[in-house]
């Protein structure tokens, strides 16, 4: 039960008021050391207060914790993941940072929704890159080494192998070396998309992202299969796992001639990670002229290759983030006898607190614009503003529902 700090009875009689503690303070006696001040007329204090009578006023009202508070209400909130507020980021709106490219393009590339060389407010939307179990696909890989063995990986400094190891450790159970897609095919190399943490909020909204990438005259549109309500996904070390499949949000997964989904990778919405198999269906759709795994000629191009596909002006990327908001609702009950006077300086005129409008004597009207939520120590912890001023009189009661999100 909340502690009642201030008198809750706004109509205390003089006799009641005199029973309250510490009512015998003599301000005139206490103020003995003030020197650089000019004193107001002391007659105001005695005569005016006696003329009005009454006890203490009340500016704070306790909140009934049982009846007026609903806590721990959880609600899923989704919104577009892009900082420009658009539902889709077109390929022509994707930019990279030259300094970041120069420093770490062997590992990943940050993608912006505006040119960071021009706009100081450009923020990273997501990162792309290439990971290879055997360390292929980078200029640091010896061009003649195609052994593709784990021994090779452990002795190399290949950034793509390092990236593969990173994702393996993060997403696979200990001891598991390979990613296996829903159709049973293993992934020894993949392109990855990592959403920026501040864009992702809590998680990627599964079933509501769609990536269209273009290479030459070929384009591929991919989604995850979470949009199908019959698909619940699986749960692994990386959280929920869905298949990346060919299809669109509107039409759902594309089914081939055998009525099967065309699986192209793995989606980890809880971590905001998408992995696209760098061989197989995904790759064959895009550009078979650049076989990234079969020829040493293209070792240095894989991340840039993916960047080229992603940032093609004809492509686009749709995605939403999702977060679970925990809310507490406070029902603020403004009773008819309460809060009918204001300390607003425009409410009065002169220095003696006279009402500005004589029509308000015995019929005051105030407006509520703010609700302050306090703790027992009178500290203002939260504040809510109404969309428009709310009239309050002795004839009106109001109920204000204040929602505080955490």
């Amino acid at each position: 039960m909340a502690k009642q700090v201030i008198n809750t009875d706004s109509t205390l009689s003089p006799s009641v008021a005199t029973t309250t503690q510490q009512t015998s303070v003599d301000f005139n006696k206490l103020n003995t050391k003030t020197t650089n001040v000019t004193s107001t007329s002391s007659t105001n204090i005695g005569t005016l207060s006696k003329a009005i009578g009454g006890g203490s006023g009340k500016v704070f009202e306790p909140i009934n914790q049982t009846d007026d508070v609903i806590s721990n209400v959880k609600q899923k909130v989704t919104e577009t993941i892009w900082s420009n507020g658009e539902s889709a980021l077109s390929g022509s709106s994707m930019y990279i940072s030259i300094p970041q490219y120069s420093a770490s393009c062997e590992y990943y590339l940050d993608i912006y929704c505006s040119d960071p060389a021009i706009s100081s407010s450009a923020t990273t939307q997501y990162a792309i890159g290439y990971a290879d179990r055997y360390g292929l696909g980078t200029s640091l890989t010896p061009s003649t080494d195609l052994s593709r063995t784990l021994t090779y990986v452990s002795s190399s400094v290949s950034p793509t192998a390092a990236m593969y190891s990173q994702y393996r450790n993060l997403l696979l159970p200990p001891g598991t070396e390979q990613f296996t897609m829903q159709n049973g095919q293993n992934m020894n190399s993949f392109y990855f998309v990592n959403f920026s943490r501040n864009r992702l909020k809590e998680k990627l909204d599964p079933g509501n992202w769609e990536l269209n990438i273009v290479s030459g005259s070929t384009s591929v549109t991919m989604i995850d299969d979470a949009g199908n309500e019959t698909v619940t996904g699986t749960y692994g070390d990386g959280g929920r796992i869905y298949a990346v499949v060919s299809g669109s949000i509107v039409n759902g997964p594309y089914l081939d001639g055998n009525n099967n989904k065309v699986v192209m990778g793995i989606a980890y919405p809880d971590l905001g990670m998408l992995l696209f198999n760098a061989s197989g269906s995904f790759y064959s759709y895009l550009d078979t002229a650049l076989p990234c795994q079969s020829s040493p000629l293209y070792y240095n191009t894989n991340t840039n290759l993916f960047k080229g596909w992603m940032t093609n002006a004809a492509g686009f990327f749709k995605a939403r983030n999702s977060q679970e908001v925990t809310s507490t609702y406070y029902f603020i009950r403004v009773k008819h006898n309460d809060f009918n006077f204001s300390n607003n300086p425009s409410f009065t005129t002169g220095s003696l607190g006279d009402f500005r409008h004589s029509s308000m004597i015995n019929n005051p009207s105030t407006y509520v614009t703010s609700v302050g939520l306090y703790n027992d120590a009178n500290e203002l912890l939260a504040i809510a503003k109404l969309s428009k001023p709310l009239l309050k009189t002795f004839e009106r009661e109001s109920l204000i529902r204040v929602c505080l999100n955490f």
């Binding site: 204090i45 003696l352 703010s370 703790n375």
Partner: protein, 232 residues
């Protein structure tokens, strides 16, 4: 037939800086137990009791006014609280500080006692007293003196949002002692805001501490020439 206004309002709250600070402390310290209402943006001069369309339109100009979004700075919010008083009240309780609007100190350690008062209301703020907030602790010291207020959970009012090393001081009482701190570099000013814990009114006093010239006496033990000049 139009729709009825059911007077149920829904709005979202934001945490203040103080609220975030207390929330970060954890241990169940964040507990909202009271509310207050305010009308900071309202200008009651717009209330028009002579409106040609009648009493329903007296407050038309105020009611049509857009409201500014909430600020997380608790010191800039809830300035003018609504207060519950008897219907027959014909004057609003007013806080005053014995006429003081500015306090000027010229020497380090100089002090003055500020005694807030509530006029227009018998025993107003006589139970829970006043909260005094000195905006900058490097300017002066603030302490309650005289009769102590029986108020749990001191300090009770918001701290100022400050920059750098300056911070506010909060005290609760019936009168407050301000003691100047030496200012060797330049004049320095701060504000003292006093708030009625019952009637909700507030008054602000400007405090200035003048720069004091510091006389430096060299350490003669390291300089024999000064001894020769007869300083020692």
């Amino acid at each position: 037939m139009s729709f009825l206004n059911n007077q149920s309002i829904i709005c979202d709250a934001i945490l203040t800086a103080k609220g975030r600070s207390i929330l970060a402390k954890g241990q169940g310290a964040f507990k909202i137990s009271m509310f207050a209402l305010a009308d900071d943006e309202c200008d009651y001069r717009l209330w028009n009791p002579n409106h040609p369309l009648g009493s329903d339109y007296y407050g038309e100009a105020i009611e049509n006014m857009p409201i500014i979004e909430a600020s997380p700075d608790e010191n800039q919010s809830m300035k003018y609280k609504l207060v519950s008083l008897k219907k027959s009240t014909n004057r609003i309780p007013v806080l005053s500080v014995a006429g003081a609007t500015t306090l000027t100190f010229t020497t380090n350690g100089q002090s003055q006692t500020v005694s807030p008062q509530t006029i227009n209301y018998q025993n107003g703020n006589s139970t829970f007293g006043y909260t005094a907030i000195l905006s900058d602790s490097t300017v002066a010291m603030l302490e309650p003196v005289g009769t102590q207020v029986n108020f749990n959970g001191l300090p009770t009012f918001p701290e100022f949002v400050t920059d750098g090393n300056t911070e506010s001081i909060t005290a609760i009482g019936f009168q407050f002692k301000i003691t100047a701190k030496g200012q060797p570099l330049s004049d320095k000013s701060a504000t003292l805001t006093i708030i009625g814990n019952e009637t909700g009114g507030r008054v602000t006093i400007s405090i200035t501490v003048k720069k004091q010239e510091v006389i430096t006496i060299p350490d003669v033990s390291d300089n024999n020439s000064l001894t020769d000049s007869g300083i020692i």
